[in-house]
Subunit: 384 residues, 4 copies
């Protein structure tokens, strides 16, 4: 029995790795070890750990690692604290493989702890290009990882060009699409949309009319600009006055700026048409993406899930620059006039047809199968 230790640090990471966790748990030759940390533990970010427990995943360890402040300084410190804590956890759990997701600071902390402790490291969602510090982190983790599970072909090729051994690079699609697929099948034919009304704070959105879905995160390399950036987006919202769903940002350097902009907007006006959500469970979020008239912001969901679901989307600014996307995405700058123009084009176009760019729904099972048989070694050497 190989012990596979998955580290989950945020709501986004959970949905990106959930199908792997399920497949590992079910696999006869694998034993799942679950470590939950960072914002996934916090009430302020929707306490994803509770959702996980409701889904049947009991953490083997919980790791508080966020140093308050949400500045570049505290982000570096949170990585350091995470490293201190995760080393303790790995020393206790003694996993055969550690699995880390994406490009967040807890991803990097996980990668370094595992690498120094001579534990083989598997990395999902590597090799992608995005044009912020997240890209540097993602590639650094690739150079530390012993097994790679990129989400698309483009990313797989990039990992190999970076000098990784092709035998360790397995293009399996994005495990997030497994979940998206499952939920999409369930809600494809639902006509009753009342389940969309629960949760959130603010106005009472009418889901029978076309509605907007907004998700805008801070750009860490543009620290300090967040409040202005979200204000531009909110100007568009105010102009359109369509029913609007808006999510609070991720815990990152700068998220406080975005949140402040949102709070000021909320406090200044009485907006009956806009509703705010801390964290949406995927079974609410995916139906929203299936039915929204236009998704707005800089979340990778618009690109990844969006291509799979055919969601019209407007991607703002630099956060996703270079990430391979389908026709469903229109890119634009931060200014409200640019955003407004792009949104209007999408509202005119309507929904797109599906595109399996980021997988077709079986990534979790493929990854578990590979983890159960792949050779394990901590010796690595660049291929050139």
């Amino acid at each position: 029995m190989r012990k596979i230790c998955v580290v989950v640090g945020s709501r986004a990471n959970y949905s990106s790795i959930k199908s792997v966790m399920t497949a590992v748990k079910k696999h006869p030759k694998l034993k799942l070890q679950l470590v939950v940390g960072a914002s996934a533990l916090l009430d302020r970010y929707g306490a994803v750990v509770q959702t996980m427990e409701e889904d049947g995943f009991v953490p083997d360890a919980t790791v508080h690692m966020l140093v308050e402040g949400e500045t570049p300084l505290t982000m570096a410190k949170s990585t350091g604290l995470g490293l201190l804590e995760l080393a303790t956890v790995f020393d206790r759990l003694k996993p055969d493989i550690v699995v880390t997701v994406g490009d967040r600071f807890e991803t990097l902390a996980t990668a370094i702890a595992a690498t120094y402790m001579n534990i083989p490291l598997a990395h999902t969602m590597g090799g992608e290009v995005s044009g912020t510090i997240d890209e540097s982190i993602r590639h650094a983790v690739t150079k530390l990882a012993h097994l790679h599970f990129p989400a698309n072909e483009d990313a797989a090729k990039r990992i190999i060009r970076m000098g990784e051994n092709p035998k360790t690079v397995h293009m399996v699609g994005c495990p997030r699409m497994d979940i998206v697929d499952e939920i999409a099948k369930k809600y494809r034919d639902t006509t009753d949309k009342s389940f969309l009304k629960k949760e959130g704070v603010g106005g009472s959105v009418d889901f029978t009319k076309p509605f907007l879905l907004i998700m805008q995160h801070p750009v860490t390399t543009e620290f300090g600009d967040g409040e202005q950036q979200i204000r531009e987006t909110l100007t568009v919202v105010e102009t359109l006055k369509m029913p609007t769903i808006m999510l609070w940002p991720n815990a990152d350097a700068g998220s406080e700026d975005i949140a402040r902009g949102m709070r000021k907007f909320r406090e200044k006006h009485e907006h009956g048409y806009i509703r705010f959500y801390k964290n949406l469970p995927l079974h609410t979020f995916i139906p929203l993406m299936m039915h929204t008239a236009c998704m707005i912001g800089n979340s990778s969901a618009a690109i990844r899930e969006g291509s799979f679901l055919g969601t019209p989307a407007v991607n703002i600014g630099t956060r996703q620059t270079g990430r391979e996307h389908g026709k469903n995405v229109l890119n634009c700058g931060y200014h409200s006039t640019d955003i407004l123009k792009a949104v209007k084009a999408q509202l005119k176009h309507g929904r797109y047809s599906a595109n399996p760019l980021y997988g077709n729904g079986d990534a979790g099972r493929k990854i578990a199968a590979i983890l159960s048989v792949c050779p394990l070694s901590v010796q690595k050497r660049i291929q050139y």
Copy 2:
């Protein structure tokens, strides 16, 4: 005036960056900020910080970051603690560029702190291949760095193949050779070798006879094997019974194993012909390399300084695998018979002619010149 913050964490790193520090300090458009941390602060490792102060470099910050234990666990923790501390230091010093050296855990901590804090990062000695965890760390730091100063052509090409922008890659040679060159010129014609006798503990080595120079560090991916590895080397020493200079290992996971092996050897026998050193100042170490009959162990000095000085060397095991070397180096396995065979071949051959593979003595000035004019940006994107 650009503020250039150099972080030094070990005796080896100091000699690898000293000529850069000197050139930065002298440059009219640059201001040197010096951060000293990790083993460079500790008595047990020769308190390199004192040497630095004697050389006229006053630290702007000192950073205790080593968690005791010297196991893989504590190495991960030391990286985490270093990250917590260095973030504080950078927040206070507000450098324009941070300079980090090589591939140690403090190198990685420095790189992450600077990167998350949106400070441009320059990296020296990147792109080399060595076949241990150090290689992974080195390449991960490359993926985080904004400016690259590789020590040889081979390394420069590798950095570019990894996707770094060629405009940010400057092949300048190894700054360590600047110092080596300076010292070598001074001692080339010295006939009086009495200065070699000071310091150290143990037997009284006769430097008029051919002598061995041993420097063997732990291999972090072979944690637990260190005591056996050094025992094999010491078997060769005991067989040859030549005058021998032996250095204590670096502070790394496993160094306690090497040290234990050395202590046991020392305590078991009365060896009049062997002398132990904690830390040798370069002006002692380089003359030793100029005069030794054979250097033995797994230090990169045998490869880098060795090629420059023409020192006959036996490189043991995997620690330097893949690193470009000159003819002066013979590689062998850990077993005493392999080592003995290689040493005898080198004793027979004698000294080699010089080879400028790792630079020709002006790397420090070149780096300072580039740092004073290069464009500064924290935006990075892979080139493919």
Copy 3:
């Protein structure tokens, strides 16, 4: 010139030490060093550091030390992180005396860092009894401190009974009263209350009518009960429907519970008569205390400032148990019927006459004078 290093970690601590800071800054033989940390740096808690800078105090160091979570676990971790960070700061600033305030986790971290680093420690507001973990922390700090500045006679006697040298115990009154006195003089004759209307979120409170002032913090030894406790208080608010000012709780284990209770209350009802504040500057808070019909909650302000100002107050639960108070305070249990009864009694009674129990407005100057001449020694011995 003695360097006096004051560490401030929260809004409450700032107003408790501000007059000392002013007096130290003005004193010819003293030099103020200011360290700001913990919640005093955070937007979520009103970024007190900005207020300090507006008041002319520039921090010599800022120290992020809060580990997110606000549970007992993260409170312990925040103390640990604070200790790591404050040790670095003291090593750099090399103060002659460190001054720490009260009984918070940053107080303890400050005390330990100073004590281990052989820096004389002065402690204000020691010796008081309060019946929660804060009391234990406060007394532990007393056993570490070398100089004591208790706020009232009762506390001074207790410190001496604990075995401290009477020569090191200086009863000076509470420095917080210095500020209160200053502000009270300014607003005593003000008829225009429009300044009270600025800031805050929620209903528009009519300050010409009798209004309530609520300030209820979590009780760390009753962790988990916070939401229920605040619900009882809010039931009283809803019954009375008087104009109400309500403050968000301190950053402590359990404050998230209180905040959740408050958010739920706010989201459930449309309460035109209640207004929420993150942080009130003293020049707003003190006039509120001067004019409120009744202060409700468990803040020490009701006892300390309340006695000085003659504010009718209802003190709920165990948080202040044992603290010496004047006639202006009625104690009651957590249940809404108990609270309601006490509030009604206070509304009937009206304001009380002033009582100098916690000082008469010159504590800051007294403390500075003592700090400038007192003998400094880190040698301590219990007196029996």
Copy 4:
């Protein structure tokens, strides 16, 4: 079953709590949880954790917490790191009572972590007077602890005078004496002393002749004086040239100074009559105390075990000032002439008769019995 979590951080603490651990392990209503940390894990300090495992105690958690440096700065940092780590451990083990020993930095870290996490804290060896920072730490821990197990009457009275509830103060004697008693009984009639010869490094001591036993630790409030202090002691050793057993110092701020003094002494001379030990198991150490002609230094063992065993002892300097001792101890200053005079007096006097000042051998059982039935509460209030 109450879960009793004992935290052990050094060789000295292990022998001070071992009989409690044994009694808890055997008690039908108690379950032992063992946490081993700090120097107890390190090779350099004799890896006490191995001894513990040989004794049948398997750690439930190991906690690396020593930041390298052994300066006041790193001591504060080690406390902070310990606090971060121990909080994680307690969160996982969820003990009903935490037991902490004495007055070391890990004692304080343990006390704070437990207190903030609302876990009842039991403290052994509180209430004693010693005249260094250890005394402040010890009393601060008393103010945090909920249960007190002082080692003698004098200490018990002091704890009560400090305001602790007498019902929580249990004078049981020192658990260390339980072990001493056991070993003393075993070796009382042994004539063969060959077991004393094993281990250690240096000369071959003749145990049939009168021999000295030296144990001198750094005095943290006299940081920087350690090398000079040990030099004075070693001058006496050199004058007497008697067979001598010498132990390396504890891991504390300043121990590197003591160690350096010892290393210089060892390296300068060829001393056939002196032998150095890293760590002596109690079954070697106690017989040495039973047979030594005179014990020299500043260890509390001379006072505690010394009174029980009747060992002639010379106590140097301030480290034990104020600790209650029997007639077997002569106090003196740091100067070699003072020390020599006192040693000669003891050599003349010979052994003393036993004195049960610090217990009579049943403290462990008494403590376990109390832990199994005592009321548990984290509510504390000073008694005056």
